[in-house]
């Protein structure tokens, strides 16, 4: 069993790396507006959208215009998703007759999907009508991912241009990424998923008469089973590819109708890291030095494996307290599906938190203490290990800027990256990008722990905990790490769908999405105006193994300095308790 786990993980990494190059080269051509195969097929639609939207795709925007459009588009999206949830009761395509979602939950979910977080306080099958899932959630799965790719493209253009004021056209970027990258991949993925058994129907739930009645929890006789369905496959494909992660059903890809087979599991898991990994190639191609892209990909891979391997081992070794129960082994099967097994569950948990995906195929809340720590820490690193579509790489590029700055301090040279001098302005913006998610995570956790709830002496944070002791704190810390880094996965026992957490979470998600995007665009604008200086003897090469090690160290040190005390209170204490 363990051997097969490792073979599958090896196969996963291999396929990921093999796909990264061709897809990355293709995406570079899309972002540079070249005539790709898909542009030949769907070019008419692109032109139609530009015409209907009233935009000129050839106008290159300055960073402030670009940013204003990002914000305008996101605010409009939030309003639409909010409105759809509030009105779904009177809108069509609601065969199960679901009522309007509460205002605070609607706000949280709208913020969540617009910021590419896809935190889900609600249970999909019993809350959202088919119309809301399609027009609201599926659309934002595409749009928020496309915005991430767009901002990344803008930063890359800033790095490569030689004294220009524009960093590209926002509308062209998101339209082309959607039509030529996300949509074709989603079509292929979703049809494969349906072939495996993922549902895709507009029919209502199926009511099944059981051949054997069963006794319910309160002794009542249950003799029917209601099987919730819906247009799931089309949403599942893009939630994986766009690092969104918002499941159609409550338990996400652990649900047998959301991921029925090991093959659907493999492809969905691949979908999590596929575009983030390939964008490293895209970066290399666009700046004209492919090695620069490989170096970032290598750093991401090193960090990923560093967290993946111990997670798998922890879950295989499992829960030592099982030893007294006369079982066949202590492997941690709680919350995991039989068809996937331990290895695939741990692999998914690591991939989904390395990328800011947040979908799950097993219940992270039931992971062993350290098996849960590594995914949590991956989010806390700021979602730069592959990270979100676009957002992971622009985050990593900011870390690269910090790294050349630190290296510059060590040797007493002016730091530069790809021939662009890094000055005070860039460093200020880079510091904002690094610090904001850290601050938001810790502050929100702290606020939740002291904010009083209706119960005397119980804080809002403590009230939501499903498990007592250190694990309860882990739940709270995990959930705000998830929202404040735009991940979306959860220690799902925590009751987060209440007014307090819905509002605080929505604020956290907005802050860490847009307070990162704006400084990143500012860096892009500032770098774009600078002239490229030829590299000299004092230039630190940024494509060497040395740089990869430096970059990994900077990412780890920033994360460790910020979060080890908090992790000490949760998973580390729990680990000491369990292994006593």
């Amino acid at each position: 069993m363990a051997t097969r786990d490792w073979i599958q993980i090896g196969l996963y990494v291999l396929v990921l790396l093999l796909a990264a190059k061709p897809l990355g080269v293709y995406m570079a051509r899309v972002l540079d507006g070249e005539r790709t195969i898909m542009a030949r097929v769907l070019g008419w639609l692109e032109r139609l959208i530009f015409k209907a939207g009233g935009v000129d795709p050839n106008e290159s925007m300055g960073w402030k215009r670009y940013g204003a459009n990002v914000l305008g588009f996101s605010v409009a999206s939030t309003l639409l998703v909010f409105g759809l949830q509030r009105l779904q009761g009177v809108l069509p395509l609601n065969p199960s007759g679901l009522v309007a979602v509460s205002a605070d939950s609607s706000l949280n979910t709208a913020s969540s999907f617009v910021t590419n977080t896809n935190w889900q306080g609600y249970a999909g099958e019993s809350t959202m009508s088919y119309l809301t899932q399609m027009l609201g959630l599926t659309v934002q799965n595409f749009a928020s991912a496309a915005v991430g790719i767009g901002v990344l493209a803008a930063l890359i253009r800033g790095l490569r241009s030689n004294g220009a004021s524009g960093i590209g056209n926002f509308w062209a970027d998101i339209t082309r990424s959607t039509l030529y990258i996300l949509l074709p991949l989603s079509i292929v993925f979703s049809l494969f998923f349906v072939s495996q058994g993922v549902v895709q129907t507009f029919d209502s739930s199926e009511k099944v008469q059981l051949t054997h009645s069963m006794t319910g929890a309160d002794g009542e006789i249950v003799n029917e089973q209601i099987i919730a369905r819906g247009p799931a496959a089309s949403q599942v494909a893009i939630k994986q590819l766009g690092t969104n992660g918002g499941g159609f059903f409550n338990v996400n890809s652990a649900h047998p109708l959301e991921s029925p087979t090991p093959a659907s599991n493999f492809l969905q898991c691949l979908g999590i890291l596929l575009i983030p990994a390939a964008l490293c190639t895209t970066f290399g191609v666009m700046v004209g030095q492919r090695k620069q892209g490989w170096a970032l990909l290598a750093a991401m891979l090193v960090l990923f494996l560093t967290f993946l391997i111990p997670t798998v081992i922890q879950e295989q070794q499992g829960n030592p307290t099982f030893a007294s129960l006369s079982l066949t082994g202590s492997a941690n099967w709680e919350g995991k599906e039989a068809r996937f097994g331990i290895g695939n569950s741990a692999l998914w948990a690591t991939a989904t938190t390395a990328a800011s995906n947040g979908s799950v195929n097993s219940m992270h809340d039931s992971f062993t203490p350290l098996g849960g720590l590594f995914p949590m820490a991956l989010m806390q690193l700021g979602e730069v290990v592959f990270g979100g579509v676009g957002s992971g790489l622009y985050g990593m590029l900011v870390f690269a800027i910090i790294t050349v700055f630190i290296a510059g301090l060590m040797v007493g040279r002016t730091p530069e990256y790809l021939g662009k001098k890094i000055d005070v302005f860039e460093m200020k913006m880079a510091s904002l990008v690094i610090l904001i998610p850290c601050v938001v995570t810790l502050l929100c956790t702290a606020i939740a722990l002291v904010w009083p709830s209706a119960d005397a002496g119980v804080s809002q944070g403590a009230k939501g905990m499903a498990n007592a002791g250190a694990h309860g704190f882990s739940e709270l810390l995990y959930n705000y790490s998830s929202m404040a880094n735009n991940n979306g996965s959860a220690f799902a026992g925590f009751s987060a769908n209440v007014l307090f957490h819905n509002i605080l979470g929505a604020v956290a998600m907005w802050l860490s999405r847009f307070w990162i995007i704006i400084p990143v665009l500012a860096i892009a604008g500032s770098l774009a105006r600078k002239k490229v200086i030829p590299s000299g003897q004092g230039t630190l090469p940024t494509h060497t193994p040395l740089f990869v090690i430096l970059l990994c160290s900077v990412v780890l040190i920033v994360g460790a300095l910020t979060f080890i005390p908090a992790l000490g209170l949760g998973p580390i204490v729990e680990h000491l308790q369990i292994s006593r």
Binding site: P256, S366, Q577
Partner: protein, 190 residues
Amino acid sequence: MRTFLTSIRMLLCFTLVCGVAYPLLITGISQVVFPTQANGSMIMENGKVVGSSLIGQAFSDPKHFWGRPSATSPAYNSAASSGSNLGPTNPALIEAIRERVKMLRAVDPTNTKPVPTELVTASGSGLDPHISPSAAEYQIPRVARARGISEVKVRDLVKQFTRGPQLGILGEPVVNVLELNLALDREPSP
């Protein structure tokens, strides 16, 4: 303001393409090419839907194979999927496992083999349709005895509903509990 108006127009375009055309296209193709899968892989018996081959059902009779414990309420509630979300140090988790071991032992007192871990730990979805081959093997003597048929006969049926790793490498070998039990019920009683 102009930015916002453009945003709304572009958002409408995105909604039409990604929120209307895309799901309709996928639904259309799926319903033609994969009608069974797209509608939930339902199992028909005598013209009636008796379940989905992908969604488990709760069995508690010794004559049937038992699936994995389900944390939904009631068990295997396919309108509200859920895991237990019990943490590894939660006493309720250990207590629940101990209770399930006791129930398995109670209907099968002569069986002293260790209980397969996955048979007494709740699945992630609460709807897991599968158990491992070893969890099936553990239950074969009990089911055979309760039905008065030979273990060989039961083991043959188990084998028939066992699926190896997909493509020889992906995932775990599993037994489909509902399909197996339906087949057992179709067997003529001795």
